[in-house]
Symmetry: C2
Subunit: 489 residues, 2 copies
Amino acid sequence: MSAYPLLCKLASEIALLESTSATLGWEQETYMPPKALEHRAQQIGYLTGKGHALFTAKKFRLLLEKAEGEELGPVACANVREWRRLVNRATKLPQKLVEEFSVASSRAKAAWVEARKRSGFAPFAPHLEKLLQLTLKKAERWGYDAEPYDALLDEFEPGAKAGEIATLFSILRPQLSMLAKEAVARSANVPADALTGEYPVAQQQQLNREVAASIGFDFDAGRIDTTAHPFCTKLGPRDVRLTTRYDPTDFTSSLFGVLHEAGHGLYEQGLPADDYGLPSGTAVSLGIHESQSRLWENHVGRSRAFWERWLPRAKEIFPALHLSLDEFLRVLHRAEFSYIRVEADEATYDLHIILRFTLERRMLNRELKIKDLPAAWNEEFKSLFGFTPPDDARGCLQDIHWPMGALGYFPTYTLGNLNAAQLYQAAQKDGSIKQACERAEYAPLLAWLREHVHAKGSTLSPRELMMAATGEPSDGRWYLDHLRTRFVA
Amino acid sequence: MSAYPLLCKLASEIALLESTSATLGWEQETYMPPKALEHRAQQIGYLTGKGHALFTAKKFRLLLEKAEGEELGPVACANVREWRRLVNRATKLPQKLVEEFSVASSRAKAAWVEARKRSGFAPFAPHLEKLLQLTLKKAERWGYDAEPYDALLDEFEPGAKAGEIATLFSILRPQLSMLAKEAVARSANVPADALTGEYPVAQQQQLNREVAASIGFDFDAGRIDTTAHPFCTKLGPRDVRLTTRYDPTDFTSSLFGVLHEAGHGLYEQGLPADDYGLPSGTAVSLGIHESQSRLWENHVGRSRAFWERWLPRAKEIFPALHLSLDEFLRVLHRAEFSYIRVEADEATYDLHIILRFTLERRMLNRELKIKDLPAAWNEEFKSLFGFTPPDDARGCLQDIHWPMGALGYFPTYTLGNLNAAQLYQAAQKDGSIKQACERAEYAPLLAWLREHVHAKGSTLSPRELMMAATGEPSDGRWYLDHLRTRFVA
């Protein structure tokens, strides 16, 4: 009897457990009453533990070893290869280290919340030091060739290397920096509140729904709900949930939230449903996932063609909206330097990422001491943005990633931006796609992404996927072209 | 090592699985997109199977046997006793019979849907015959002293006997029948559409929420959502979900739905949270559960005192509402004979139940052949209501209970009505409760129910609970008194 189908069956069972956890997690963020929290945490912990136990059990590993000796088709081979990578990652860490990390991360998060409130880095420093030490232990266990960062990155962006990213970023840095400065200067006469008005939530929901449906999001296999922070989660092979939040004085806040999350959602809806629970039915990396959200949010959703179609409709829905198309686009393309990454616009966002990548790589290589992080942050920030954050809350304490112990995550945001631009330009080479996009019709673009990105699941590595779809690995020039055209042309 | 705490631990694990299934089931009815159905069914099936396997495994039974020999406190004793009853019920059926029944019930439901559409009983008859045969096999396996009905009833109303219910019902029948006729005659001049108006859903939700909160429903540990059919479900020790549906032309439809389900919800919120997953933290029977919903819906929610407080508020919320208190109460207490049980009012509802109990008992005793069911239904119906249904869709095919194979369920509705009246009058003996109810303040009434009903969980049988709370077993005279006062006084 072949081991491969038995592995698929186990993987389906794990997927049932994980998708149930995801459903409970979604409900916790959307509808759950507050006193239900403790029991919900118990449920999710129980199901997560069961899924992890199945995946790391001897049974799975023995079957995997057997399957590695079997003659299999290309998709099955890819699944076996990816399972091996994931099983290694899941089993190479001793249970004690996993638990120690989990405790340290909980404590660090609590200390971070306090440190942010009082804006003092010092009491948080020992927690970050502890997390860094444990993270380095994890990296040792997982193994790496060049530097510990690579072992961490592999969780989010399989196959990517910190050295390659550093090269990419060193090319981007001066050009992005120059570009951002010019974009900010050109926006000086666009008032920050040009859009401010009355946009009732029910009407925003109407527009968001129409827009999401028009780019191809299937509402028979998904929903949009309201949460404090927008996200996208998959609850089953035909069940993708988006969330957004509403600012009743600015409809674009919820709308771009929806476009971003719908980009993630279209990827999830486009993965092969029959392979649900297998690597071949699973998104390949954060850098590819983010490319889909950024493509729909920025390349489509902030384009002139898109608003030629949608501004008249938005004006029907919102009587408060009176801007002309040119005025409206100037607001959408307004650039401004800000301390806070999550509030940054398209023109300045990646500078925030480059800063974080540089610093966390230096921390992991033990070139930067934790106690020196605030000073290093402010120095890098000044070199990138030209001014200094007023305090650490608006500086090195602003993100939850490090307190969670998620080192190696940040560069996937910029990889997503590069990939979005590169995939978008590759698709535009097809004249019929380009012409449809100019009419704000996106079915041909979506079909291209379905074929070249979504349908692949994890059968190709992110690098292989970009090669196959665009003819070259991730590169910055398409993104720089895009930013130049949009912001300084 | 004592076996009892190990049983409690296993029961907690089973409760985690079951409450997760319940959460998925709630989400399926409230928010789930249609294409997600198949995966959702797989998730629920998987979790249900895991929970059932844990409960019926040798490990649980061996621990239970050991615990039965241990010296335990009264609550632990009650839990062990109830586990024994439940384990016996769960393990006495051979797997083959369970599967055969599940297949037969699926087929019967499909045939029933068809039969209802075409209003033809004949093609449904063989399915009901098959279900009846399998139901009798189940009853044989479970065992009974007097008649098969008792074995079925025990699932819904532990310890109840069909013979006792028959005696209760034979006393009720002539008096209810007379009472119903008089109530219907007195309502002749109350128009059916006296309340019809415009009641926007958002405003209905506002009133429903205020009313539910005022009777003590804790919205930090629960919610109200919208579904095709109202229900109440518990998702965790501090998480109770109510649902209702909205008729935009009649606000009382959703409001009484909420009052009914909130009655169930108050019971669930009042069960000892620390005993969640144990019999001592679980509702004891359908007849007690329904007593709580009917108490709040009918004894509280249709009382003059309640509307003295709430009609002015309803008029603030709904400008369309213009009836005086007396006019409004006449509409609420309007009685009418109808073919359909679920549309029946308080004065006529139990006649529908008596009809069903009589017929299903005769079927189970093999005194009534399936092919003769429609004729027997119409004959009984005529004797109770004075006229004959025009077709089987409005006759013996109207309910889903028999096609599902849920024989022995119906009498719990009327037991609920009797218990509601009996508990309500017992509570009213306390003058401070009575006075508070007259001011439409229900905290003292709820406190009484918490102490005498909710806090007991399943540590007492339904009969013991009624004895302890009211001094006598379930009896019809309090209910008849209530109906007389309300409808013919």
